[in-house]
């Protein structure tokens, strides 16, 4: 039974990363119509920025949680302004190829300087240790990752679904020309939205650093599963991405317990089933 709870916890933690990353992808796809293959590389950059801040600047994990998303978000906004904005109106394939190329370059540069092995990033003192819950031992940092990710996901959902700014974003997703004709600077909003999506990826990278170590290919390993999550949840659906992210993490964890051989493929099997039954994803709308 202890092993089942442990796998559930691992599933929830993986689900937290899936949710944060797929949420960023959903925000970017909804607004820019770009399938952002650079997302894994930007997640990795978040972890590396946290590593640099700590080891070069002596800046703690807590500040890194704020600074790394901002720094990587600015990098993302520069990418959007200089490259991605020129793809407006073109087939999805161009965005996919460009961002895939960006991911390869970014990962290649980091691999060149830091190799492929992981760099250590210590758990902050305040989150070390664990709690005995009676039925299982819960490492504090892992509990923190799950709760903090959930809070960030819900805050992002609230921002997009329940605020004036979110109404601008949703409206611009449907008809950017008309929203601009109302007096809203849509190009600037698109840039900021890309920055927000990238910032979420970088935040996931910082959260991941103490658990998974900091590696140039840490995003490449994860991004394919995250794309499967987004496809299952429905491209562009905010709540769909969050729920599917956490749910698939848990399903993956349960599979590890009950049938470990299928744990690496269960997400993709589910993706195929969902695509067969509901091609727009569980919560997606038809185009």
């Amino acid at each position: 039974m202890q092993a089942l709870y442990a796998q559930l916890l691992v599933g929830l933690i993986n689900g937290s990363f899936y949710a944060l990353l797929s949420l960023g992808l959903a925000v970017i796809f909804g607004m820019l119509n770009i399938i952002n293959f650079a997302h894994g590389a930007l997640y990795m950059m978040g972890a590396f920025v946290a590593y640099f801040l700590l080891n070069i600047g002596g800046i703690s994990y807590w500040w890194a949680l704020l600074l790394a998303p901002v720094i990587v978000g600015i990098f993302g906004m520069i990418l959007e302004r200089t490259m991605l904005q020129w793809l407006t109106g073109l087939d999805h394939l161009y965005g996919l190829l460009l961002t895939f190329g960006i991911a390869l370059i970014v990962q290649g540069v980091f691999q060149n300087y830091f190799g492929s092995s992981g760099l250590p990033y210590a758990i902050p003192d305040q989150l070390k240790g664990g709690m005995n819950l009676g039925f299982m031992f819960l490492p504090v940092y892992r509990g923190w990752v799950v709760i903090f990710s959930l809070v960030v996901c819900l805050a992002t959902w609230f921002l997009i679904e329940k605020t004036r700014l979110g109404a601008y974003l949703r409206a611009a997703t449907e008809n950017p020309t008309l929203v601009r004709a109302f007096g809203i600077n849509v190009p600037r909003m698109i840039t900021l939205t890309y920055g927000l999506g990238v910032g979420l990826a970088a935040l996931a990278g910082v959260l991941s650093a103490p658990i998974n170590q900091v590696r140039p290919l840490m995003g490449a390993d994860l991004i394919i599963v995250v794309f499967a999550v987004v496809v299952i949840g429905g491209m562009g659906s905010i709540m769909g991405s969050i729920i599917t992210g956490f749910a698939l993490g848990v399903i993956e964890g349960l599979t590890k317990y009950f049938y470990p051989e299928a744990s690496n493929t269960v997400v993709f099997v589910l993706m195929v089933l969902v695509l067969l039954v509901k091609p727009t994803g569980l919560t997606g709308r038809a185009a």
């Binding site: 008309l178 004709a181 600077n185």
Partner: protein, 238 residues
């Protein structure tokens, strides 16, 4: 009061516009004075909607001169044009399906002081008040048109461009929209209207311009309408 009645508020000279390779407008010239309701009449495909979109800055390629309150706006982006006080209500209404009625209503930002307060908007369109939490696209065609007009009234824009507001609506709703336009004119709004239904236009317009093949081919005031009726029938093919 939205502007000094009678002063020239919009001046369009040699306006040309293109959709890709297609040359749509071939030198449009007309003026709108503050406080007027001016109607562009013409057959389908004459260039009426393109004229409004060109003024609003949402046509990719356009040349010539468009002056709003003596300021040249031909090179301005649509968001800047909106912030100068021009509001556009498109033919397809542009109600957002992912937003409820209240969100649709509050979507356009207030660009300057002087917009209608919500109470006054609900006074004009009582149906909207009862359906604030409905999804925007679940409204009837008439209600969607009311919402499309209502949402630009609170922005403070003094110059409204309405593209075929009566298209596809029941006579009773058309009448209601006519009353609304008349009331807006009384409030001091300047309105540039695109209409194919000149019987409706005659109830609200001060002046008319006839658009054909991307050019203004005629213009007359409401008092001259009766004298020009035969000509108008020929222009519009009715």
């Amino acid at each position: 009061m939205k502007g000094a009645t009678g002063g020239n508020i919009l001046q369009v000279r040699n306006l040309e516009a293109w959709y890709g390779e297609s040359h749509i407008l071939h030198g449009i010239n007309f003026d709108v004075n503050a406080g007027e309701v001016v109607t562009l009449l013409g057959r389908n495909g004459a260039g009426k909607t393109t004229t409004l979109k060109s003024i609003m800055g949402i046509i990719g390629k356009r040349t010539g001169s468009v002056k709003f309150n003596n300021q040249e706006i031909i090179r301005a982006t649509s968001d800047k044009i909106a912030r100068m006080g021009i509001a556009f209500c498109p033919e397809e209404r542009g109600i957002f399906s992912s937003l409820d009625v209240k969100e649709n209503l509050l979507l356009p930002p207030v660009v300057r002081a002087g917009g209608l307060p919500l109470e006054q908007i609900f006074d004009l369109f009582p149906n909207l008040k009862e359906r604030l939490s409905s999804q925007g696209t679940k409204l009837s065609g008439g209600e969607q048109q009311m919402l499309a007009i209502a949402r630009i009234l609170r922005t403070g824009a003094s110059f409204l461009m309405l593209d075929e507001p009566t298209e596809g609506l029941a006579p009773v709703i058309i009448q209601q929209i006519g009353h609304t336009i008349a009331r807006l004119k009384k409030e001091g709004f300047t309105i540039l209207l695109v209409e194919q239904n000149f019987r409706f236009a005659s109830t609200v317009a001060d002046r008319y311009y006839v658009v054909e093949h991307g050019k203004i081919i005629d213009g007359f005031s409401n008092s001259e309408l009766a004298a020009n009726m035969d000509k108008l029938h020929a222009y519009l093919g009715v």
